[in-house]
């Protein structure tokens, strides 16, 4: 399943790249992209564990850029 999320206060382009890298390493994630330009995150992950994986995504992002909020 592929889903798009809006991001608020994603302030630094380098952090967006770091977030993208970190999310891609989460098990169960097929593909992910964080677009600094559109302030959007696309996550493609296994269907049946999607919510669980998203929780990890949120945690990972909070570690890298605590100011950035993912609008689930």
């Amino acid at each position: 399943m592929k889903k798009k999320f809006k991001l608020t206060d994603l302030d630094c382009a380098n952090c967006a790249a770091k977030m993208e890298d970190a999310i891609k390493k989460i098990p169960g994630i097929r593909d992910a992209s964080v677009s600094f330009m559109t302030q959007k995150m696309t996550v493609d992950a296994e269907d049946d564990r999607f919510d669980e994986i998203m929780k990890q995504v949120v945690e990972t992002c909070a570690k890298i850029e605590p100011d950035c909020i993912i609008n689930l």
Binding site: D9, D11, C12, A13, N14, A17, S33, S35, F36, M37, T38, Q39, K40, T42, K63, I64, P66, D67
Partner: protein, 624 residues
């Protein structure tokens, strides 16, 4: 400005005032305050301006992320405080914050202006219920429902006009400013603005499949397909920070040992390194430049599917065009009717119209059009059509062949050499084994095609090639009218990919790095579009297949936009390269000056912030 930006601005102003006051205090009055008093005084503005950076640095250390600009800025300013350069510590943080604020503001602004450009989705659709209009979310409208679009409103969903007449402004989709007339039975696309008449439209697509949704999705996804340059920068950024940090460590530790001198002075030099350790100017300005280019293209009705395609468009050296529908109108018209002895013009045309009665080929429809009335298809039996050749049919009991010279040859009809003297597409008609005559059909070049080709060449495309199923002679004639260099004629639909591969190979021999583009209408050339380095689809408003297959979609059918796209792509690439070279050069310069002790932390942070600002402003040029 967002709330967050406003808070940062306030902090910057307060710090600025305090800092100026402290500087004045230190330099104007004669009294020298003891060091610890000065430290305490400077710590106040320092704290105000940097508490979030310090906080983030702490948190990142906890999370095991050491090479983070927050952490490095913290170390650098702590270093400055430790060697007694209090003013410098405050200044570095102050400039750093100003730079960050400006970045976030400028990026937000350019994002907004691109978003505003893409504001083509209407918020609501109007359904008619019991004579009253009810506003609903376009997402909730189902296929087959009738929506009402009032004058001046944007059409929310794709559909067919059931009732009403109006002019549509399609500029948001095509960049074309001349309104398009629409009336009952016409297809209309979401995103167009209705003129002065009320339209009742029967919806034919769900919201998610509508033209507008597709376009928005495409532009949003465009940033995901990253250009090589972009990947290079992200890769570079990963190594840049650790390398600079290690450099700083070496300076601080090995410097005094190897070259002697004051440890404090070396520490100061190391801090200069740390100040410029953030690769932000690069990481921000490159995608911003591409994004601006993509946004600017979409404003003129050209959709680019990704930054990588901007890069490729900029490198086009050869352009291959499909003839029909791209270079020419695709409207075949009968130019002359030449009956053989014993046949009349009317008879010949009637026979041709009957034979071609079932065919969907544009040539067939032009013959039927010339015939005027609907042919009586009851007289036609056993119709067999061979693509790219012709038709065999039984009309009133006689065997009739209609088709090109190849077809006649295959059917054993002698042409006695007439085929060689014809310019235009010729349909030969044979009845009962005898040539009854021929009909010459010609397609006209679109207006402005010749000048568009000239503009494409002026934009730096070295070779233009035309692919067509037409006979060699008429193809050559059109090509020379339009100024096209090379013609590959008499191609069957299935041959086009193979022929294109040959052109690709030939071009690769001449210039291995040049890109070969293909332009088509996207209807039956999807395989070639896919095979090309860059596939342009033209006249694609409402055509999902074309949008799907192409890399660059030109919404209307203006060939001139290819030249404009190439120029835009080149400009975007130039901006991106300028930014990279400029930012790297300034960073390198500061690193060298810093290592030699010639640049202070002030200068370093000022230059670093300055580079970011200039690179961002430069990127925004791509938007206009």
């Amino acid at each position: 400005m967002t709330q967050k930006q406003k808070t940062v601005r306030t902090r910057i102003i307060i710090t600025g005032v305090l800092f100026a006051g402290l500087l004045a205090l230190e330099h104007s009055i004669g009294v020298t305050l003891p060091g610890y008093v000065m430290l305490l005084l400077y710590l106040l503005p320092y704290g105000i301006v940097s508490y979030d950076v310090l906080g983030r640095a702490l948190r990142n250390i906890k999370n095991g992320q050491v090479f983070d600009e927050n952490f490095l800025m913290t170390i650098a300013t702590f270093g400055a405080l430790a060697i007694g350069e209090y003013a410098e510590a405050v200044a570095v943080m102050l400039f750093y914050q100003i730079g960050e604020l400006f970045q976030s503001y400028a990026v937000g602004k350019s994002r907004e202006s691109i978003a505003a450009m893409m504001e083509i989705v209407p918020e609501e659709a109007f359904l008619e219920e019991d004579g009253k209009l009810v506003a609903v979310d376009p997402d909730d409208v189902e296929i087959g429902q009738i929506i009402v679009v009032k004058p001046g409103d944007r059409i929310p969903l794709d559909g067919v006009v059931e009732e009403g007449e109006s002019f549509l402004d399609t500029s948001a989709l095509t960049g074309e400013s001349v309104p398009r007339r629409t009336s009952e039975g016409d297809e209309v696309y979401s995103g167009c603005v209705n003129g002065s008449g009320t339209l009742r439209i029967r919806v034919t697509k769900e919201f998610d499949d509508c033209t507008v949704s597709k376009i928005l999705e495409m532009v949003e996804n465009a940033t995901e397909r990253k250009a090589k340059t972009e990947n290079f920068i992200t890769g570079f950024a990963k190594y840049y920070t650790p390398v600079v940090t290690v450099g700083a460590l070496i300076l601080a530790l090995a410097g005094p040992l190897l070259f002697g001198g004051n440890f404090m002075a070396w520490l100061h030099r190391a801090c200069v390194f740390l100040v410029i350790s953030c690769p932000c100017a690069l990481v921000i300005s490159v995608p911003l430049g591409f994004f601006g280019g993509i946004g600017s293209a979409s404003r003129m009705g050209v959709l680019v599917k990704g930054s990588n395609y901007i890069e490729a468009v900029a490198g086009i050296t050869a352009l291959v065009c499909d003839k029909t529908g791209t270079l020419t109108k695709g409207e075949f018209r009968v130019r002359s009717i030449v009956p053989s002895e014993g046949f009349t013009e009317e008879e010949l045309l009637e026979t041709a119209a009957l034979a071609e009665g079932y065919s969907g080929h544009p040539i067939a429809s032009s013959i039927r059009e010339a015939y005027g009335s609907q042919p009586d298809l009851g007289r036609v039996e056993d119709v067999q059509e061979t693509a790219g050749k012709g038709i065999k049919a039984r009309i009133d009991g006689s065997i009739v062949y209609a088709g090109n010279a190849v077809w006649m040859k295959e059917m054993g009809i002698p042409l006695n050499g007439v085929e060689a003297s014809q310019a235009g597409t010729v349909v030969f008609i044979a009845k009962d084994g005898i040539l009854a005559g021929w009909i010459v059909i010609a397609d006209e070049a679109k207006e402005g095609t010749a000048s568009a080709i000239a503009a494409i060449k002026a934009a730096g495309v070295k070779k233009t090639v035309m692919l067509t199923g037409d006979a060699q002679k008429p193809a050559m004639q059109i090509a020379s009218e339009l100024g096209i260099d090379e013609v590959h004629a008499e191609l069957l639909p299935g041959d086009k990919v193979a022929e294109f591969e040959k052109i690709l190979a030939a071009c690769a021999k001449e210039d291995a790095r040049g890109k070969v583009a293909f332009v088509g209408d996207g209807i039956n050339d999807a395989p070639v579009l896919g095979r090309a380095d860059i596939g342009f689809a033209m006249g694609s408003m409402g055509s999902d297949a074309a949008i799907e297959a192409a890399d660059v979609v030109i919404m209307d059918d203006d060939l001139g936009k290819i030249a404009r796209s190439i120029r835009l792509a080149r400009k975007t690439m130039a901006i991106v390269r300028e930014n990279i070279v400029f930012a790297l050069a300034v960073k390198a310069l500061i690193l060298i000056l810093g290592a030699l002790g010639l640049a202070g932390m002030w200068g370093a942070v000022f230059a670093d912030v300055g580079v970011s600002v200039i690179a961002i402003l430069n990127s925004m040029r791509a938007l206009h």
